[in-house]
């Protein structure tokens, strides 16, 4: 490569010469590479890293959006979280939500992927229809589910057809509101993860299955002894993304229940929003909550990496 550059370099000034000695094309490549990543780096520095750093800074202050003076309060915002009843309720709700949703959506996504990976009729049709909920905006889906869960809505109509007559208002019930949102979320996110599983399934060499068939393995045995162990890296990915998404649950709860009834669906992200915009002087508390939430997600991702060993040998 350097050969093709050399004639040009020799005709140019000493300065360029000196550069070309440092590895002409390599520098040009490096520069091009930098040029390509610059927009993202700028975006990242400005909108993510700077915002993140600012949030940490704010979390150590008593911060009011409208006040001119925002005094430093050290760890007070964090200390208050441990006795803040709303935060503890939100943390409990979010954890409960994350555990149920991550387990169900991972299992459901794997099941769908295995089904689609087998030779069933109309595979493409199923692939498209099952993926549809993931394409629609969560806001739109939430609005639709307001009608599904309505006392005289779709769910109760279907239950009526099978002989269960009820006018339960799911989203106004402290028992059902959180499960209702869990179900909605499993239904919308599982298909995205189904695609990831599907891609990974197609990477598993057919020979392994053929060999196991020769050895007389059953379908279930193949699933648990071949498919799932070989899918470990992708299971880790799906579980991590699931945890991150589940702990950030906001829009569905915001649109459907506003955290109610009686804080049954109050999530950490919803509480952060309330502290930021509804309660004027609690921006510092909101940032402290956001940092704690971030640490929790980070820690859980590390733990899931430990638990699901990602080393894999075919």
């Amino acid at each position: 490569m350097a050969v093709s550059v050399a004639p040009k370099a020799s005709a140019a000034t000493a300065k360029v010469n000196r550069r070309s000695k440092g590895g002409g094309m390599a520098i040009a490549q490096r520069r091009a590479g930098l040029l390509f990543v610059t927009p993202y780096i700028l975006f990242f520095l400005l909108l993510q890293l700077a915002a993140f750093a600012f949030a940490i800074w704010v979390s150590f202050h008593h911060y009011d959006l409208l006040a001119l003076d925002n005094p430093f309060v050290g760890l007070r915002n964090y200390a208050r979280l441990t006795v803040n009843e709303d935060f503890l309720i939100a943390l409990r709700n979010t954890t409960e939500y994350a555990v149920v949703v991550v387990i169900l959506q991972t299992a459901f996504a794997l099941l769908l992927a295995v089904l689609l990976n087998s030779k069933i009729k109309g595979r493409n049709f199923f692939r498209t229809t099952w993926y549809t909920p993931s394409v629609a905006s969560s806001v739109v889906i939430s609005m639709i589910f307001l009608y599904v869960y309505h006392p005289t809505g779709l769910l109760n109509s279907i239950l009526g057809l099978v002989g269960i007559h009820t006018t339960e208002a799911y989203l106004q019930s402290t028992t059902w509101a959180l499960p209702a949102i869990m179900f909605l979320n499993v239904w919308t996110t599982a298909p995205t993860f189904m695609l990831m599983f599907l891609a990974a399934l197609q990477d598993i060499p057919k020979e392994i299955y053929e060999a196991s068939s020769v050895d007389g393995a059953s379908a279930a045995r193949k699933l648990f002894s071949i498919t799932i162990p070989l899918l470990r890296p992708i299971i880790f990915l799906v579980v991590s993304l699931g945890i991150i998404g589940a702990f950030q649950i906001f829009d569905q709860a915001f649109i459907m229940t506003k955290g109610g009834p009686l804080k049954a669906t109050l999530t950490v992200a919803l509480l952060i929003y309330d502290n930021l915009f509804v309660d004027t002087g609690a921006v510092g508390v909101a940032c402290a909550e956001a940092i704690v939430l971030g640490i929790i997600i980070f820690a859980l991702t590390l733990i899931s990496r430990r638990v699901i060993d990602t080393k894999i040998e075919y």
Binding site: H61, L68, R80, T167, A169, L262, T280
Partner: protein
């Protein structure tokens, strides 16, 4: 530290700007004649209701026709009005003129973000006496007037005439009447009444039973005394003992007015906004209204009001004041009254035929004389959350009245003490 310095710098810039404007006005260079005032102002209104939004648009067009040198750009905020204004204020990018709700007043005025209208009112000939006095107080803080009331609404009891006639009932005149009528009219999926888990309805009962939400110095929540407990016991007795009331969403409705229109509830406690809603959505339902009957201690209703005010940073103070003057003036308020949306905040419209000839509107207007303005200071969102949770947990059977109110008062007090 950096924010302090930045803050000081901003404050300095702000005061220079204000001084510059003030200087301009007083030096005689500024307009003293309404027709000479120029400028462009951004005016933000809550536009959650399309009908109301288009009315505001029309009034603003009328204003520009009257004052051709002033240009108004409408900024409608469909939802989360205060949240949007709050972020705009913190970015120093708020509109010049805006709806000032009591919630907005409560956080913006103490932070010096709203313009004191008193000097401009005297400059442009607006007198506080033109307005109903109880509607002026929500916008006052340490002798300053931060907004002018544009209209108001309050609560009366609406009842379904045909359901009452079919059951052989007369219009109720007392709470005993309402209680027995509610029982009579409850049949199958239809309830006699729909009382929501909402402090914006319950507090009418609370005040009527002699209770208070806040202590007189507004520093403590006190809505768990015996009077308040009696009020909530009575409010919940319709649903819990008589089974003659239910929450609107349990009746398949989004709000009590919706349940009333769908004829799932024979009575509701609502305001003037129900009248155009029924006219547009459920025109075939015939209904009447009564003022809320006297409660054990006194007559009571709740007063909800909105005003127009200006940002403290506006560069066009005179134009903004003229706009506020017009939007709260007789011409606009007469049209608001005729649209049926809200009641006029002006004394001079009290004898308007639109009020005296419509018994429902007259009930609403007359209730203002004993209604209490529903506003609880800078922490009102937390206070109302606490109240709503208490009412909800009682109505859902999760808690008894006393422990629900005790817990709510503790929550509200922790908000009031800066927790």
């Amino acid at each position: 530290m950096r924010s302090m310095r930045l803050g000081l710098a901003l404050a300095a810039v702000g005061s220079v700007l204000l001084a510059a404007c003030g200087g301009g006005n007083n030096a005689g260079g500024g307009a003293t004649n309404e027709a000479d005032v120029t400028g462009t102002i951004r005016a933000a209104n809550w536009g959650g209701n399309p009908t109301e939004n288009s009315l505001v648009k029309k009034y603003e067009a009328d204003f520009m026709a009257k004052y051709p040198k002033i240009k108004v750009t409408q900024e409608e905020i469909p939802d989360h009005f205060e949240d949007k204004i709050k972020t705009e204020m913190s970015a120093n990018n708020e509109p010049d003129a805006m709806y000032v709700s009591t919630a907005l007043m409560n956080f913006a005025a103490p932070n010096g973000r709203l313009l004191d209208l008193n000097p401009l009112m005297s400059k442009w000939g607006v007198s506080a006496d033109e307005f109903i006095p109880t509607l002026m107080t929500p916008w006052q803080l340490s002798g300053k007037q931060y907004a002018l009331p544009k209209d108001f609404g309050d609560l009366v009891l609406f009842y379904n005439k045909s359901m009452f006639t079919a059951a052989g009932l007369q219009a109720p005149t007392s709470w005993d009447d309402i209680k027995s009528a509610a029982k009579t009219l409850t049949k199958g999926s239809v309830k006699g009444l729909s009382l929501p888990a909402d402090a914006a309805r319950f507090d009418a009962f609370l005040f009527g039973y002699g209770g208070q939400v806040l202590s007189s110095d507004k520093n403590k929540a006190v809505f768990n005394d015996q009077k308040s407990q009696d009020a909530l016991t009575f409010y919940s007795s319709f649903q819990l003992q008589d089974k003659s009331s239910d929450l609107p969403d349990k009746l398949g409705a989004t709000w009590p007015g919706d349940a009333f229109g769908k004829q799932k509830a024979a009575m509701v406690i609502e305001g003037g906004w129900l009248i155009p809603y029924m006219h547009d959505t459920y025109p075939s339902v015939s209904y009447g209204s009564i003022k809320l009957p006297k409660f054990p201690v006194k007559e009571s209703s709740l007063l909800f009001t909105n005003g127009w005010g200006c940002s403290a940073k506006t560069k066009n103070q005179d134009a903004c004041m003229l706009f506020v003057k017009y939007m709260t003036g007789k011409v606009v308020q007469q049209q608001v009254l005729q649209s049926g949306f809200a009641l006029p905040s002006r004394k001079d419209l009290g004898t308007d035929p639109a009020i005296t000839s419509n018994p429902d509107v007259k009930n609403l207007f007359d209730s203002a004389s004993f209604a209490t303005a529903w506003t609880f200071g800078p922490h009102e969102s937390k206070i109302n959350d606490a109240q709503n949770n208490a009412i909800q947990s009682v109505l859902l059977g999760k808690s008894d009245v006393k422990s629900a109110l005790d817990k709510a008062v503790a929550d509200a007090n922790s908000a009031l003490s800066g927790g």
